[in-house]
Symmetry: D2
Subunit: 340 residues, 4 copies
């Protein structure tokens, strides 16, 4: 069945598979100390224009959020996030599992607003009872957000400024980062992220890898980070699996190419939806398209194509999500267009 359900339905970009084959019989040291991890780190540092960045590879997104947030926070601190943030909703309490509260703030189209963050922090320190409360120890944002939206450079700068004033790190979840670096009017680049964030991760799983996320600590990593990764059960013996993939993704711009394909396909699909008079739930510049379907349409279409049911709109309408990916082809879009 035709699938626009998500961006992790296929395996990996063929260049990655080829590299796994080419290097397969090389005997390499374990736990991320091999030359491919090293090379991948150098390429990422260069792409971020951040020579001093410390980089680590982890297997998945929830794992990455859990390990990074737990190691950046003091035990008495929590993490500020949008109420719709992935860590707030869809990670089965992985953050709380490590002892930290997710301090949920209101959001707009999936984005935290700098003034909301500032107001929360000011309110916290202005409250004489704040030593009885969870200290806000970092800010978590997603880019692209769960709603496929993007922060502008200005917005990022403002949130980063608030964090700096309160001396807490800004951490950006880039599970779908490739799809946020790839549009026509892209405002925020990897070097921007390195400049504004204390830590962020470059998502591999959803942008053409078999698995894997690259965590970039732009200033310095938590002490004994590898030990902490292992303590969380997250250290792969064959670290090469992640290093080889990211080395490939950051060779010849493959990561950006993967992103561009998805956004190009999404734009093509947007035009189809618009031309056919479908109603957009919100405007998004990335690989996720949110459409308000009549419930009969929903049922009919659901028999022929996979997509994600997002939320109820009203009694007779539902918001659904169509996602393109690095693997979506023009034929896929045409096939979907034919069904609409």
């Amino acid at each position: 069945m035709l699938s626009f359900a998500n961006d992790y339905a296929e395996g990996a970009h063929e260049k990655i598979l080829q590299k796994l084959i080419d290097t397969n019989r090389e005997s390499l040291p374990g736990y991320g100390s091999d030359k491919y991890c090293e090379s991948a780190k150098n390429r990422i540092r260069e792409a971020c224009q951040c020579a001093e960045a410390e980089i680590y590879f982890l297997a998945g997104g929830t794992q990455t959020n859990q390990v990074v947030i737990d190691t950046l926070l003091a035990d008495y601190e929590g993490v500020i996030a949008a109420k719709t943030g992935h860590i707030s909703v869809h990670e089965a309490g992985a953050i709380e599992y490590t002892g930290h509260k997710v301090l949920e703030l209101p959001q707009k189209e999936g984005k935290l607003l700098a003034e909301e963050v500032e107001s929360y922090l000011a309110g916290f320190y202005g409250d004489v009872t704040h030593e009885h409360m969870v200290f806000p120890g970092m800010v978590y944002i997603t880019h692209p957000t769960e709603y496929g939206t993007l922060y502008t450079k200005r917005e990022l700068q403002e949130i980063s400024g608030v964090c700096a004033r309160y001396n807490i790190p800004l951490y950006l979840d880039g599970a779908r980062l490739g799809y946020g670096l790839a549009g026509e009017r892209i405002d925020v680049t990897l070097p921007d992220l390195a400049a504004y964030c204390d830590a962020f991760y470059i998502g591999g799983t959803k942008v053409g890898a078999l698995c894997g996320e690259a965590v970039v600590f732009t200033r310095n990593a938590p002490r004994y980070f590898m030990t902490r990764v292992k303590q969380h059960g997250a250290l792969l013996a064959k670290g090469r699996l992640l290093g080889i993939q990211f080395d490939t993704l950051f060779t010849d711009n493959l990561y950006l190419e993967n992103g561009r394909n998805a956004v190009r396909m999404a734009n093509m699909l947007r035009k189809v939806f618009a031309d056919k008079g479908y109603s957009f739930y919100l405007e998004t510049p990335t690989n996720q398209i949110f459409i308000v379907l009549e419930n009969e349409q929903l049922e009919r279409l659901g028999n022929e194509v996979l997509f994600d049911i997002w939320e109820k709109y009203d009694e007779s309408h539902t918001v659904v999500r169509f996602a393109t990916s690095w693997a979506t082809s023009e034929q896929d879009v045409a096939a979907l267009a034919a069904l609409l």
Copy 2:
């Protein structure tokens, strides 16, 4: 450099890579619900002759131990393990991180003895203050052990009996299981493990996979295990990566073949060591060989081949470990022999 350092230095068996290529563009559901996971589970159930087994795939060994032990224990319980057990020593406190004490018992050649376990349990319940202590809630063993030794069927049966009498589960860490199922006089089979253990895992990472371990709950899995896996940050979006690998490992006996190669190479190497008069630290039937080297030998050899320094033997000798694997060839053994 020639490497006998460990059994995870190469990539994956080529059949696995081929299967990843063959299935790469198939659009599959996520989180382990795809058909390859299903097929792999069926093949493992069959290999274990345990139709009712519930099977889950995780990415690595420490992660598997952490998730399984944490979900099988009540919060007030700890896990009994040998003082030399992997969870006791080399997992960076991943078990304690989830709130559980590792109750360390003496061992013999890496093995827990049934009488030690029974005596500990009897002592615990005989102590009137035991409600102020950590309840022993399960028994953890490794097979092969960290010393490359194996439990006999009799030993396994006895430990299993003790567990049954105290109504606590027996969990077996099979990180190197393939190398324990493959010798000439193999006593313990997969169906034996399914019969005697409440849970065990079949190690993939060290037996020819890129990553991945298959957890087998022989009676029933902890409730909402998938949610618990996610809560631990251990759920891969592309569950196919694990399913495809285990589906391949359990097709045409590849898993056993991988094990057999390693043991055959180890036996060849054992003969070389014996013929040349090297001193064995202990006898092992699996892929790990422990040799007592004079320190000068150690230094000289260390310049030409990678092996693992195990522990100091005395002032002038050191115990070292040579490991073969699914990837070791006769040429490798011959090359090492030439250096000895």
Copy 3:
């Protein structure tokens, strides 16, 4: 200085001190197994008309919430609470510290509404992705609430019904319970609480004890609860300290008397505020009174009497809280009245 800041500013009711003196040199067993604990439990069972209740004594409120919630929840579950609930705001993340998310719902005057709870639960189980989310494993309410309000019997019954339908326990935090059992038109009694709640605690610290809360499990307590209490660092060696206090509080209705005094003084004070034209922030039947003060009034009054600054009302007004207690006298009220 005159204090209406809170209800824990004095020591203990003198009858409690007297009982501590009378029993001081008795040699008693430890950890809550003494005869005073036993007697106190029996008196509480009787007051609750709940013969099968299991009762435990803990030292403080946050501790009680932490231990009870952690032991009633499965590891993958969180606790539903009002956004203004004590565990949501003022317990320094003690719940998250034990690995559980506080699932915050909107509230009305500090109260959770049954329909909000039901809607949340229905939404959760209706969401096909719910196994990626935190399972709602219990409901937490406070009575009196942080706003001094009380649930009606009807409201309690409705929430209890929702919990029963979803098979999750209802837990009531009675830190100030004495002040909620003592008004003129009291609707909810101890037997009602025992009927509608699976667990609740009878607050001692704020109702005339030196320290101590009595947890009542109306059906059955979590297994090995004493061990769990110790594991949380919450088991007092001299359990008698808590048993003697609750034995006294539940002799000759002292607990209710303490509550009645506070409510009588609060009503007297309410009349003063009303007569002098002060503006009430909300109506409350218990020992807490919320008044909207002009900021100049606030400053002037703040020099002569202690009260609690609650929250900003608008640019020129502030909500403040005056609390009476078991120890408040008519002279105290008169002295405050003279300042208004």
Copy 4:
């Protein structure tokens, strides 16, 4: 029945009760910010000759160990302790509950040896795989130990020296400290403890208080310690309860007097045992006496006096413990003597 079972069977020294009565109706601020806490801290600073010490009061011993160890350790660190240490055995896993491994070392008469600690630390850092293991982050000792023995000043100095060389804190559990400061040939004083330890606690519960332990951080306390205490559920609203008790214990040498009484009674009892030819399990200078009883003696005596069964000695003998306390009188000793 005559009781020599432990040192927490009675209430509190009468001077403490009197002080609670005298201060009962004073309206005081909560959470340890009252003037009695302040006064108690000053008196303790003076007794320790440590003007810069930061002091906090907690309710019980396991709680104190849990909070102090958890806050002094980094998340990836464990605590070195004797295999017989209280945290290793009798705290229901309260340390592991907070995520930290107890690294158990061999002991002699309950004491850790400096050379064992040094050897463990040297071995750890000498192990090339140590980043896969739990970092030893502090040393925990008890004084008096669980066996009633005491460290000499020299031994303390040596352990302290090892800790300093490895830059990890030394923490001393003084649950029974009063009984270790009170003998005739006392070698280690409070100022010694302040000089050699980074943190220690002065036990109140077992030395004449209703409850309470005073934690002394001799250099500086963990950041936001009060918030951390609350997060652990350990912050009492009526902090006065602890402050008043310690203020009294450190007025007119009451703490030392309580200790002296117990040791004087123990010495009297030791003479009785010796004169009657009883066999001592080990020599102790504090309030605990360990005797090897024939099993028939054990049974007969057990009908008339409470004591603690320690461990099996051989088939026909058992080690038992007799404890005196601040509350033991000469009549008690005489009564016991009459039974021997």
